[in-house]
């Protein structure tokens, strides 16, 4: 564990998000076991790790789309489990989430998708909403695509539209679920730059779930590796690059075999193929 950067005013403030001893899963399958995690205000925190390691589960816990079996998830010091529907929705209005494939409303245009949260939650008139939507679309470079339908935009553009929609209500916390998955290198670079720029310009806190080492290390202040139901390593991108932890090394060097086995557990091959050693 490494302390990454020099102390800043944000470091002295209480963390925006905190997981305390969280155990969580789906049905009887436990995904996270007794996990502690702190997300400092104003930082970009990257959650990395193997598939099924619980990265997206952490995002779902922070949005209370999933309840922990044990432990607490705190947002701005408040235990999310204790909130009623109204208070939970008030907390969610302070969050924005970018889903893996954008989750745009397919029956609404790009403009109406971005306007959706504004129309639902604000009392400002249509003229003001128009200006706000165009500003958000300008921030992601898609002001000219306002009249297109989601079926008419590429995967990378859809992700940017979803990003504009997620920041429409000026959230304090942005949650990104695999923002680089399936994107070409140009779109990936654009997405990474946007995440960093929005974090700086809006002064928000960001949590990025990603597999992409290069792009994620370039924008993250802190990296947390999740595997086997817990945090296995944590630190700055530079510290992670220098890490000797076998799992972190396998992940960063993209080795096919290591602590994470290439082969799924199976009976010996000679048993399956009916071959006996001479």
């Amino acid at each position: 564990m490494t302390s990454p950067t020099a102390p800043s005013p944000a470091d002295s403030a209480p963390p925006l998000v905190e997981l305390r001893g969280v155990t969580c899963g789906y049905g009887e399958r436990v995904i996270l076991r007794d996990v502690d995690l702190t997300v400092p205000r104003g930082s970009v925190l990257a959650l990395m790790g193997t598939s099924g390691g619980g990265k997206t589960t952490v995002l779902r816990l922070i949005g209370r789309q999933l309840e922990p079996m044990r432990g607490q998830v705190l947002f701005d010091g408040v235990d999310l489990a204790a909130l009623d529907r109204e208070a939970l929705y008030a907390a969610r209005r302070r969050m924005g989430m970018l889903f893996q494939f954008g989750a745009l409303f397919t029956d609404l245009s790009v403009f109406d998708n971005v306007a959706f949260p504004l129309r639902e939650h604000s009392t400002v008139g249509e003229a003001m909403i128009r200006d706000l939507v165009l500003m958000k679309l300008e921030a992601v470079g898609l002001r000219g695509a306002r009249d297109l339908m989601p079926s008419q935009v590429s995967g990378g553009m859809a992700r940017r539209v979803a990003l504009a929609r997620a920041i429409a209500l000026d959230p304090e916390l942005m949650l990104y679920d695999e923002p680089f998955a399936g994107l070409d290198p140009i779109s990936m670079g654009v997405a990474a730059r946007l995440i960093r720029e929005l974090n700086r310009a809006l002064g928000i806190t960001s949590i990025v779930v990603s597999h992409d080492v290069h792009e994620t290390f370039a924008i993250a202040d802190q990296v947390v590796f999740l595997a086997n139901g817990g945090v296995v390593a944590q630190g700055t991108p530079a510290a992670m690059r220098a890490s000797t932890d076998p799992l972190v090394r396998q992940f960063i060097d993209a080795e096919p075999d290591g602590p994470v086995r290439f082969h799924y557990p199976a009976v010996p091959a000679d048993e399956d193929f009916g071959v006996r050693a001479p």
């Binding site: 789309q65 008030a90 209005r93 494939f101």
Partner: protein
């Protein structure tokens, strides 16, 4: 799952009770949403247009053919007793009391119910409902409720269209084709159909069927597995459950209306 293993039976029963409880809670939330949904009437109007207008073709054509058949079969029976002029009354009573609401509900389940289930299921699979939740917008209020009340409003209107077109169908077969007296056809109908007992009961039935079909379709979409296979299964379940529920409720309602 084996039926002789108490653990499996217990687990299945518990799962069934959980599903029933979840369904009942959703139904209550949808009913309670009427006030807030009416405040955003535009959403309901859109759904009445989407569900009702797009079902109009199948309802009209089906109504016409059902009317044709009623005309032919009714005449075949009535002419044995020398009361062919009562054909208008027979066609009208059959349609407004029974066939209009029931056949419309069955067609509505197949045409609009499946579309509702698939739409909600695909929204769920595409994480659109989760995205809405994360935007602090309740999907039950914003997505499900307008569709539910849209379906409830559209059903009696469609049943009325079905019955009206069916009566025209019966007239076309009875009067121009077979040669029954047109005055007798219409006057028997006018004299024999009671606005409250016959038409009113038909409207009550179609309203109840509207609640049933819309709720079943939305529940199946909302609780389906968010996978292509899950959505496809949910769509099939909508047709099966909604159709059986309509037929069973029709018997219950008819029995209650007879006893009044």
């Amino acid at each position: 799952m084996s039926w002789w293993n108490p653990t499996d039976v217990g687990r299945a029963t518990r799962a069934l009770l959980v599903d029933l409880g979840r369904g009942a809670r959703l139904f209550v939330r949808l009913l309670a949403s009427l006030g807030t949904t009416l405040q955003r009437g535009r959403l309901i109007v859109d759904q009445v247009h989407f569900l009702g207008n797009h079902s109009l073709a199948i309802i009209t054509v089906s109504g016409l053919f059902v009317g044709f058949v009623l005309g032919l079969q009714g005449y075949y029976t009535l002419q044995r007793y020398g009361s062919a002029e009562a054909l208008g009354l027979l066609v009208a009573l059959s349609l407004v009391r029974e066939l209009g609401p029931v056949v419309t509900a069955l067609l509505f389940a197949g045409r609009a119910g499946t579309s509702l289930t698939a739409e909600i299921g695909l929204m769920k699979a595409g994480e659109q409902l989760a995205a809405m939740e994360m935007m602090a917008v309740d999907p039950v209020q914003r997505v499900l409720a307008p569709r539910f009340w849209g379906g409830v409003i559209a059903m009696p209107l469609l049943a009325a269209v079905f019955s009206a077109v069916g009566i025209v169908g019966g007239y076309l077969v009875g009067v121009p084709l077979i040669g029954i007296d047109a005055g007798g056809f219409w006057s028997q109908m006018q004299g024999g159909v009671d606005v409250f007992k016959d038409v009113g009961n038909g409207i009550v039935k179609s309203f109840v069927f509207g609640l049933t079909v819309s709720f079943v379709a939305l529940l199946q979409g909302y609780t389906c597995q968010p996978t292509p296979e899950g959505v496809s299964r949910a769509t099939t379940r909508t047709v099966v459950i909604a159709s059986l529920a309509v037929l069973a409720l029709d018997f219950v309602l008819t029995a209650m209306m007879f006893s009044v």
